[in-house]
């Protein structure tokens, strides 16, 4: 096996708060191969965004610290890099796209100027070369009439076009890895689909690996190859998208999949009795981790006594799919016993 492009090992990102240390990211590990697309899914407060920000060390605030782990990018640990080295990496070999395009664009500068700035800074191009590459970048993200758009100010563009410009900025220096944090959440559905298709095309054409941070399983289903499900700062399940979506193993993943309203393919007719959605009771906890045990236990339909006290083990099921759960471990142990019994 060749070395992955990105390998995050046992990442710990903590926030100091009045309530104690909040372990926003608590021992997260995952790989992204070259050209891969990993979906990092979870609800608000699960730590998915903080994971993305930790990779680029963009946690500006004083009360956030990366307390442990390694972030190996192309074989080098980003956590040992100096601030100057990180600046060269950000927007260079790793870049990031955020939810709100307007916060990534400067309202006072034309689109072209902003692209040229990034290109000259990272690649030391002449103005003329940078202008040419800026135009290429806009063509890459399929903005209609790119020559004219270079002269536009951000407010003159539609929401979808602005997000395309942000993607163009992120891709201008041909990064190996793009971290996209809810890039389509603020967009209309039809525009969301276009941006997702654009990211897929870029992934295929340029081989850019993507870490897609999202709360939306639909987005994961349509663009990611692998998925990691986060809950209270930890990855509770990961695997190939097809496996995790078809046969989710962790009770949280199962609940999440069941609580999304789906489009029905069959008509229901008038006067039918309305089905209730499956509902996960309660709400997600703050990841303070004052005691051992599974953070999902208070909301889990399959909870047992050990779930409250002992950290659950990681259980493999099938090719690369793993869930962190006492119940699945039990089932697997029981199955193994049966198999051995039959074998004997």
């Amino acid at each position: 096996m060749t070395e992955p492009l990105l390998r995050v090992e046992n990442l710990q990102t903590h926030f100091a708060s009045e309530l104690g240390t909040i372990k926003a990211v608590d021992g997260v590990s995952f790989d992204i191969p070259r050209g891969g697309i990993l979906g990092m899914v979870g609800e608000s407060g699960s730590g998915k965004s903080v994971t993305g920000l930790s990779i680029l060390r963009l946690l500006g605030s004083r009360n956030a610290t990366i307390a442990g782990g390694r972030i190996m990018f192309r074989g080098e640990d980003l956590l040992t890099k100096s601030e100057a080295e990180m600046r060269a990496i950000r927007g260079g070999s790793i870049s990031m796209v955020f939810q709100n395009a307007m916060t990534s664009l400067d309202p006072f500068f034309r689109v072209g100027e902003q692209l040229v700035e990034v290109l000259r800074l990272h690649q030391g191009l002449s103005k003329k070369e940078a202008r040419e590459k800026a135009l290429n970048a806009l063509e890459l993200v399929r903005i209609p009439d790119p020559v004219a758009k270079l002269k536009s100010y951000p407010h003159q563009l539609s929401g979808g076009q602005r997000q395309r410009v942000v993607v163009a900025l992120a891709l201008a220096c041909e990064p190996d890895l793009l971290i996209a944090d809810e890039p389509t959440t603020a967009l209309d559905a039809t525009v969301q689909k276009q941006i997702i298709e654009l990211l897929q095309e870029i992934n295929q054409e340029l081989g850019t690996a993507i870490l897609m941070v999202t709360h939306d399983m639909g987005v994961v289903a349509h663009m990611c190859r692998t998925v990691a499900v986060m809950y209270a700062g930890r990855i509770v399940e990961h695997g190939d998208v097809a496996d995790v979506l078809r046969t989710p193993q962790h009770p949280y993943t199962r609940g999440l999949m069941a609580s999304v309203p789906r489009l029905r393919t069959e008509a229901v007719g008038e006067g039918h009795v309305r089905q209730r959605l499956y509902q996960i009771g309660g709400s997600a906890p703050l990841p303070l981790r004052l005691t051992d045990g599974c953070a999902f236990a208070p909301r889990c339909p399959e909870v047992g006594p050990e779930c409250w006290e002992v950290d659950p083990p990681t259980v493999a099921s099938g090719a690369g799919q793993e869930a962190v759960c006492h119940r699945r471990a039990e089932e697997k142990a029981a199955l193994t016993e049966v198999v051995q019994h039959v074998g004997a």
């Binding site: 609800e43 559905a189 689909k193 939306d216 639909g218 289903a221 609580s259 309203p261 029905r264 008038e270």
Partner: protein, 265 residues
């Protein structure tokens, strides 16, 4: 459905905003035009559209929170568009709204119980010494605890605030509830809780609901009939089954095509 029992009626609703310019008002912007539809008593009607399609403007015109430029709104036989302020006040008790971000619709400096009680006092719905009990009943009914009545809005999570918004909307015992993107700011697991709560309340209280949303799966899950909006105009309306299985309009088809189902390819 035999004998159409119409509760809310919109007829040829139109809203034109004048775009302000440096020198007063300039060209006009048509936010909504020609919107005609009925909401039947006891049903959930969906208004579907992307941002800027006019769905929120229509909703607000039904409650006369936005004054229509022309057209007619009927509510249980009353002409909402021509009611006097006093008549309108009486009618408001019967129609309420739940916003996307109910947190911002609460005063941060007052205990939430007081605010849920406000419509009861406003419309003189029960004796003063019973208000507190009624508030507690309502809070428990929407899945909150009695002791939370004395807390302030910032002490609640997003899902709990939406429960508060629903409790306050129900305080005046309305027949009609306008839900403007009630779950789009919520996490999936919390959305399911709120949707189930709304369905339960509708069954118990025989509420008529209008659901404004851009989420088609939500409309199919919640609504009996719906209308699709595009650039301020109704492009298609009818029973949800028809809209989803036999879409007649290109806009509807495009919206359906853009739904990303959480299903492995």
């Amino acid at each position: 459905m035999s004998g159409r029992d119409v509760l809310v009626q919109a007829q040829d609703l139109r809203k034109v905003y004048a775009k302000p310019t440096l020198f007063g008002t300039g060209e006009e912007f048509v936010a909504v035009q020609g919107a005609t539809f009925d909401v039947l008593r006891g049903e959930t009607f969906g208004l579907i559209g992307e941002s800027g399609s006019g769905k929120t403007t229509i909703g607000r015109m039904l409650l006369r929170l936005v004054e229509p430029t022309s057209g007619f709104v009927g509510f249980d036989g009353h002409d909402v568009t021509r009611l006097t302020p006093k008549g309108m006040r009486r009618l408001r008790q019967r129609m309420q709204i739940v916003f996307q971000d109910s947190g911002s619709a609460f005063n941060p400096r007052r205990a939430v119980g007081e605010q849920v009680a406000f419509p009861m006092r406003q419309f003189d719905l029960c004796p003063k010494d019973e208000v507190r009990d009624r508030v507690v009943d309502l809070l428990e009914h929407v899945g909150l605890r009695a002791d939370q009545a004395d807390r302030y809005p910032h002490e609640f999570s997003g899902g709990q605030r939406q429960r508060l918004g629903i409790a306050r909307a129900l305080a005046s015992e309305p027949e009609f509830l306008l839900l403007d993107e009630p779950t789009s700011a919520l996490d999936v697991s919390v959305q399911a809780q709120i949707l189930n709560l709304l369905q339960q309340l509708q069954e118990e209280r025989h509420l008529t609901m209008l659901l404004i949303t851009h989420n088609l799966a939500l409309v199919q899950h919640m609504c009996d009939r719906a209308a699709v909006l595009h650039h301020g105009e109704l492009v298609e309306s009818g029973p949800v089954d028809d809209i989803f299985h036999k879409p007649q309009n290109e806009v509807t088809r495009r919206l359906l095509d853009a739904v990303l189902e959480p299903v492995a390819a």
